[in-house]
């Protein structure tokens, strides 16, 4: 039920993001989703890729600091109120969101929201019991 996400520490200077994507490209890794959290000094690049372990290895070998975390991907209908609905449900269950990002599924009528919760297990339980469709890692990596 969980999705493995890579996070990479990047200094806020020119060319670093290009370097990460170049390394992944050369290793034959396809990026499925990405999000960048940035501050004035540094950024944290969060990636979901098709081959997690290979990607982690390739980046570490080039000296990047890489961490693997578990996130949850939830499918919501791509229409007004879709997002509000799920956020309300999360709030009702008193679960905290550390961060989130989203994308719209190709061709389909759904959006996928990636969440990092403070309590992943509890969040999954709550979302399932409220009828949300949680996407499995394997499905997302090959989406």
């Amino acid at each position: 039920m969980k999705v493995e996400q890579l996070s990479i520490f990047i200094e806020n200077k020119s060319g670093r993001l290009a370097e990460v994507t170049r390394i992944l490209g050369e290793a034959g890794i396809n990026i499925r989703v990405l999000s960048l959290a940035d501050t004035s000094d540094f950024g944290i690049l969060r990636l979901i890729v098709d081959k997690v372990e290979q990607a982690k290895f390739a980046l570490k070998e080039k000296g990047f600091t890489v961490d693997k975390t578990e996130v949850v991907a939830v499918e919501v209908p791509d229409r007004p109120g879709g997002m509000a609905n799920i956020l309300q449900s999360i709030d009702n269950n008193q679960i905290n969101i550390e961060y989130m990002y989203a994308f719209v599924e190709r061709g389909g009528g759904n959006a996928v929201i990636i969440f990092r919760f403070d309590d992943t297990e509890k969040a999954i339980e709550a979302l399932k019991s409220n009828g949300f469709n949680i996407i499995d890692g394997q499905q997302l990596y090959s989406m």
Binding site: Q5, S7, D41, I44, G63, T65, D67
Partner: protein, 433 residues
């Protein structure tokens, strides 16, 4: 364990009598053979014969690094060049290097003092000494080398550089003692990790680290990563080279200075006044047996204090405490004096932070700024921005609380701070003063 038990444990009255006798002879020698000293003594109205006690030393003028530069290259030598068998020079960061010459007897004494130092650190005849100090004009390599041979140990003269090969040789040759700078030791630990080598599988038991100031916290770090006892050694080429003073493995508390060859004093660097036992100030050393280039009251610019309390190892020689830095390394940031080693101690004390750091000092709108660069590795990295920002804030706060300096902590990518195989560069000062 001692190398020269008689002299290392000489009772203080006998040691001081020996010092006085040797001091008087040294003063006669420099007065007769070095015009610089003859002029300096004459200017203060003191003749070598006026020095009747060790306290009279205080009446003599200092020798400074600048005096050595002014006498470049051989002006302070006290013997004819035919007597000189070796020349070393210290890296001249500003202008010309400082040149020193050794007679055969000087080399002989240096070898003995270095051999004593090895034994003090817990090394012995049966050890395989991996000497990664640089060989060349720098005194580190050859100084440790001759001491190791005098001791009768097996010395591997590997010098600095080519870290992968160093690790392979430590593994294959069964090195038991490592000599290098503390920053290079940590660099080796990093490289070993990359190579998949665990220091626990090596035979190293002792590391003798010097040539740059380091902190007690860094000792803990090195001992944990390299799985050995880390011993602090002190020396400077002007006085001799490595082996002027060293910790004993029994106490690891202060560095015994070989007082039968050197007389240490601590002075207030601003006034030149001698300070009492235990007070921190600039270390001044008089060489009392050196022939090639004897120095009287040489101002080392190193900041330390001195203790005469007996040590549990049995040596009677005074101890100098861990150097907090060189007076010329001292940064003055908005009027506050700070040594890089003090910042290092704070950083290493924060869990997960590696002792690879860089201090960048600048001046903006007439205000000094300090940026502390710290590398982010897996131990401190998080996928959440707030956790990293909290770490940066904590570094800033601890430096502010403990040193009274406002700084900004900057998190940088791993290995982006330049590694050194010799002395590490810890400070970049961009101020145009």
């Amino acid at each position: 364990m001692f190398y020269n038990e008689e002299f290392e444990t000489l009772p203080r009255p006998a040691l001081e009598a020996l010092q006085l006798k040797r001091l008087q002879a040294a003063l006669e020698r420099v007065y007769a053979n070095v015009p610089f000293y003859r002029d300096a003594f004459n200017a203060t109205g003191i003749k070598p014969g006026d020095v009747k006690s060790l306290n009279d030393l205080e009446r003599l003028p200092f020798t400074t690094k600048q005096n050595m530069r002014d006498s470049y290259p051989y002006g302070l030598f006290a013997v004819p060049m035919e007597e000189i068998v070796r020349i070393h020079a210290s890296s001249g960061t500003t202008g010309k290097p400082t040149v020193v010459g050794y007679t055969r007897k000087d080399i002989d004494i240096w070898s003995e003092l270095m051999a004593r130092s090895f034994v003090s650190a817990g090394a012995g005849k049966g050890d395989i000494i991996h000497n990664a100090y640089g060989y060349g004009l720098f005194t580190g390599g050859l100084g440790a080398h001759y001491g190791a041979e005098r001791l009768g140990a097996s010395v591997i003269p590997i010098s600095g550089g080519n870290t992968k090969r160093q690790i392979m040789i430590m593994q294959d040759f069964g090195s038991t003692v490592l000599t290098c700078t503390p920053s290079y030791a940590l660099f080796m630990a990093e490289e070993a990790k990359v190579e998949g080598v665990n220091f626990k599988d090596l035979r190293l038991k002792v590391g003798i680290f010097g040539a740059e100031p380091w902190s007690e916290a860094m000792r803990g770090e090195i001992e944990a990563k390299l799985n050995l006892d880390a011993i602090d050694i002190y020396g400077l080429s002007e006085i001799m080279g490595p082996g002027v003073a060293i910790e004993c493995i029994e106490a690891k508390c202060g560095l015994h200075i070989w007082e039968d060859h050197f007389i240490p004093e601590i002075i207030n660097p601003d006034t030149g006044q001698r300070l009492a036992e235990g007070e921190r100030g600039e270390l001044v050393i008089t060489t009392i047996t050196k022939q090639g280039i004897p120095l009287i009251r040489y101002r080392t610019r190193d900041i330390t204090s001195i203790i005469y309390e007996p040590c549990l190892c049995g040596r009677t020689h005074a101890r100098i405490t861990r150097m907090s830095g060189r007076s010329d390394d001292m940064l003055i940031i908005r009027g506050v004096n700070v040594f890089p080693s003090q910042i290092e101690a704070i950083l290493v004390g924060i869990e997960g932070v590696e002792p690879h750091y860089l201090l960048v000092v600048d001046r903006m709108e007439n205000l000094d700024t300090l940026e502390v660069h710290v590398e982010v590795d897996e131990h401190i990295f998080s996928d959440e921005v707030k956790i990293l920002q909290r770490l940066a804030k904590r570094i800033e706060k601890e430096i502010k609380d403990k040193l009274g300096i406002t700084c900004s902590a900057r998190l940088v990518e791993p290995k982006s701070i330049q590694r050194s195989e010799g002395k590490a560069t810890r400070v970049i000062d961009n101020r145009k003063l």
